[in-house]
């Protein structure tokens, strides 16, 4: 990471073009909304991935949708790059600023425009916090399903950019499955409406391409999400195991029994130790792995399937099974899991988290392989993950005061991602590619795959001004037409190996 940090730092000079633009923006949207003072803009130099920092030339604290439109238009006219930022909780550097560009902060656009329980829709500005949507919908017996662990702070706009997931996306899907419409300022300043309140619209599904595009296709200024009816009942259990294989086996057996839990989360011994030290969640003593399993739905279905899962866990050697009797107990079970990242900070000076995905049936072998890689590198790794969908979050512990330790942690993280790709998985399940993993895109996709994605980028943003330097391993000018590549040129020769 240290080497990336060096690369990402701003070149010495201040960007004159961006600063001139700042003057005109001050006149247009108000002097108090446009920051250029180095001490002030420093607050925004990184997102949740603090090892990548760039001080932006200009920060715009957008106070209205029009501020966003005006800023993007001016950037387009002047050819100045811009980056949109929500709450800045992203873990892949997706909101890392551009040194000679404008950072558009959207966190002041926090109005919930409408709540329509009969149509199960909420319209929100991009700075609205994820959890607020559920809070607004709750009086109507509804909820917003995507629940990233940062849901108390992360923004809807950021969720749309990253296609945020969360523990409950095993059953309910990701942000893209719950967004029906967005008002978007395209990188040339044009405002378009993608999707809407109806479930589908004639023409290409541009909204589907926009969600998860990591800020590279434009800025959402208004988002329409679908809410779900809150389930009749929710039941949660915490199960302790003496081996990771038993915990993983319980996950597989549950799925094989035709049960789709709302969430299945796993933590290994080191992650349990950290959580215990931090929040005293009272996880079973001596557990090498714990599972938090939650089922929700109609009582008649949940009660029977919950019993079945208990039996399955018992058959896989669970030595302690606790069932939450009320909301307070459920909250405690989740607290250990949801605070795991922060908790790891207490047992290590620094840590680095990865987000790889594997087919869930490969869990035991992958964990063993991660253990071997960690041992070889002489680094400790705590594992916390969404076991139901094979989304790993290895937390790589290191001491950032030791020279070279950060680089070693990053190397190990990338080795784990390579392992995920080799097993047919993905380098990112929910954190996004951002600036951090863009070099790994070429490991997961062929050049032709990436060129094809760039076609979309060129349609939305031919000048390449929106969040440049993210997602793609190498930039491409939109005028270029790459030479035709054929099925034979792709590195998987037979169609059977296309996937």
């Amino acid at each position: 990471m240290s080497q990336h940090l060096a690369q990402a730092e701003a070149p010495g000079g201040r960007a004159p073009r961006a600063l001139r633009l700042a003057e005109r923006l001050r006149a247009l949207i108000g002097a108090d909304r446009v920051l250029t003072d180095p001490a002030q803009v420093r607050t925004y130099e990184c997102d949740g991935l603090a090892t990548f920092r760039v001080r932006p030339a200009v920060v715009v604290l957008a106070g209205s949708r029009d501020d966003v439109v005006e800023t993007v238009r001016m950037c387009a006219r002047e050819g100045v790059p811009f980056v949109a930022r929500g709450s800045g909780t992203g873990l892949s550097g997706g909101a890392m600023p551009v040194a000679d560009g404008v950072l558009i902060v959207l966190s002041r656009l926090r109005e919930i425009v409408s709540v329509d329980p009969d149509n199960a829709r909420v319209v929100a500005e991009p700075g609205v916090v994820n959890l607020w949507v559920t809070r607004e919908a709750a009086p109507y017996g509804q909820a917003y399903a995507p629940d990233p662990s940062s849901q108390q702070v992360c923004s809807i706009g950021g969720n749309v950019a990253e296609n945020a997931g969360g523990a409950h996306c095993l059953k309910y899907g990701f942000t893209v499955n719950h967004v029906t419409g967005a008002e978007v300022v395209l990188p040339d300043g044009e405002v378009v409406h993608l999707g809407g309140t109806a479930p589908e619209h004639p023409g290409l599904d541009l909204l589907g391409a926009f969600v998860g595009s990591e800020g590279t296709l434009g800025v959402a200024t208004r988002v329409t999400v679908r809410t779900i009816q809150a389930p009749e009942t929710v039941r949660t259990m915490l199960v302790g195991f003496r081996s990771v294989a038993d915990a993983a086996g319980t996950v597989s057996d549950t799925i094989a029994a035709g049960i789709l839990p709302a969430a299945i989360e796993m933590m290994d011994a080191l992650a349990i130790e950290a959580a215990e030290a931090a929040v005293r969640c009272g996880y079973p003593d001596g557990a090498v792995a714990v599972l938090v399993i939650e089922l929700d739905g109609p009582r008649s279905e949940v009660d029977e399937q919950f019993r079945q899962v208990e039996e399955i866990a018992g058959g896989r050697g669970a030595f302690e099974t606790r069932i939450a009797r009320d909301d307070a107990e459920r909250a405690l079970m989740w607290r250990g899991r949801k605070s795991a990242f922060a908790a790891v900070g207490r047992i290590s000076p620094a840590y680095y988290v990865q987000d790889g995905v594997i087919p869930r049936t490969r869990l035991p072998e992958v964990l063993a392989a991660i253990g071997r890689l960690a041992d070889d590198a002489g680094v400790r790794v705590a594992n916390v993950f969404h076991a139901g969908d094979g989304n790993l979050h290895p937390l790589i512990l290191f001491d950032d005061t030791v020279p070279g330790a950060a680089g070693k942690a990053e190397e190990l993280g990338f080795a784990i991602l390579d392992l995920c790709v080799d097993l047919g998985g993905s380098i990112t399940g929910e954190h996004g590619v951002g600036v951090e993993k863009r070099s790994r895109m070429a490991r997961q996709f062929t050049e032709a795959d990436l060129d094809t994605m760039q076609l979309v980028r060129c349609a939305f943003d031919p000048a390449g001004l929106a969040n440049p330097g993210k997602l793609f391993p190498t930039p491409r000018l939109c005028g270029e037409r790459p030479g035709a590549r054929t099925a034979r040129d792709a590195h998987d020769p037979a169609l059977g190996e296309v996937f």
């Binding site: 909204l207 109609p298 994605m453």
Partner: protein, 380 residues
């Protein structure tokens, strides 16, 4: 590769192709695209060719039915990889042996996976499981220039790169030829049961659907059959036996009546037939208003609670007036079948403010506009 001169039976939207080809591999698809500079219209089994506007031209009709291998099924991962020409029926048969299914239920007999993606076809169970965009986790296409390109992958949770599967869904082959697909699967439900209730008018249908939508019941589908003389509302429950029974009883209490059926009635999930058949989409709670806006004599089915309906209307229906009446509900009416092939404006209705962007996407993928030319919204 199988190749033949096109005949009347191969016509798409009344346009007879000069040549019909049936490649069996992605490489052969790429060869077709590289060897001709003319227009190419990709189709699967051809069960939904009326769902897009008539092509501006069709030099080559490219049938993907030869790409018919189920490549890999990982039951433990609930994922299947299948080529575009595999029929949904064949896939479901294979998956059922493992107690699994692809949770898509469009009724067109013989439809292929590629055709279902291209037409974005769905059925009643979209209420529970969503549509193609929610279940397609990976896709491979051959682009107009012969390039093979993938997006997504073989795991459900995956945010690496743009999710191009969403763009290809409903694109009727206009951005590329889908050659392979990867799907998220679901377990086959253990038990099923339905509750049926007669309905007399749109207002009542809307009210009942609203009650169900706002309840904690979890039906896999809520289907309404509507016709001039009245109709029927059917709630389908699929779960474990105990839950099907309990929810059926709760549903009858909620609706204030209804009878329990062991299985769904024959009309369930079928598309209406008629001279002019429309696919309607609108805000879910607007069901009553949408039904009331349909011309006299309209009949069909609505996936109530989702905001999608299929209606057979009189051939002389004023589509412009109907679309205007649906507009307050973010509504649209797209033609699925018509007595005579229609141009894009009549087929799809008006374009939105994103049309310029849509045009730029099309032109990036297919700069010569030779893939399904004229078939898409706005004549793209």
């Amino acid at each position: 590769m199988a190749s033949a001169r096109g005949g009347a039976r191969d016509a798409v939207g009344g346009v007879v192709p000069a040549e019909v080809v049936a490649p069996a591999t992605a490489e052969e698809v790429a060869e077709v695209l590289r060897s001709t500079g003319g227009s190419v219209v990709p189709v699967g089994a051809g069960t939904k060719t009326g769902w897009a506007a008539r092509p501006a031209s069709c030099d080559v009709l490219l049938r993907t039915t030869g790409l018919d291998r189920i490549v890999a099924h990982e039951p433990g991962d609930l994922v299947v990889v299948a080529e575009a020409g595999v029929t949904l029926r064949a896939l479901q048969r294979r998956l059922a042996g493992h107690g699994q299914m692809l949770a898509l239920d469009p009724p067109e007999e013989g439809a292929t996976l590629g055709g279902i993606v291209g037409a974005n076809a769905s059925g009643p169970r979209r209420l529970r499981y969503g549509t193609v965009r929610d279940l397609l986790i990976g896709v491979a296409v051959v682009r107009a220039d012969g390039t093979l390109a993938r997006s997504g992958g073989k795991v459900v949770k995956n945010v690496a790169g743009y999710d191009l599967g969403k763009l290809y869904t409903g694109a009727h082959g206009g951005l590329g030829v889908v050659v392979s697909t990867v799907w998220r699967l679901h377990p086959l439900p253990r038990a099923a049961g339905a509750v049926s209730l007669p309905v007399t008018d749109p207002a009542q249908a809307g009210r009942l659907a609203g009650l169900v939508a706002r309840s904690a019941l979890t039906p896999t589908a809520v289907e309404l059959r509507f016709a001039p003389g009245g109709g029927e509302l059917v709630l389908l429950f699929e779960s474990i036996e105990a839950s099907v029974r309990a929810q059926s009883a709760q549903a009858r209490a909620l609706l204030g009546g209804g009878s329990e059926l062991p299985t769904v009635p024959g009309w369930f999930g079928r598309r209406p037939e008629g001279p002019l058949v429309l696919r309607l989409a609108y805000e879910p709670a607007a069901l009553a208003a949408v039904l009331a806006a349909l011309p006299e004599g309209a009949s069909g089915t609505a996936s109530a609670c989702t905001g999608v309906a299929y209606a057979a209307v009189d051939a002389g229906t004023d589509l412009g007036a109907l679309r205007a009446a649906l507009a307050p509900y973010d509504g649209s009416a797209v033609v699925l079948a018509a007595p005579e092939p229609l141009d894009a404006a009549a087929h799809w209705g008006p374009v939105a403010d994103s049309f310029g962007l849509m045009t730029r996407v099309k032109d990036q993928f297919d700069p010569a506009r030779r893939l399904s030319p004229g078939r898409l919204l706005g004549g793209l």
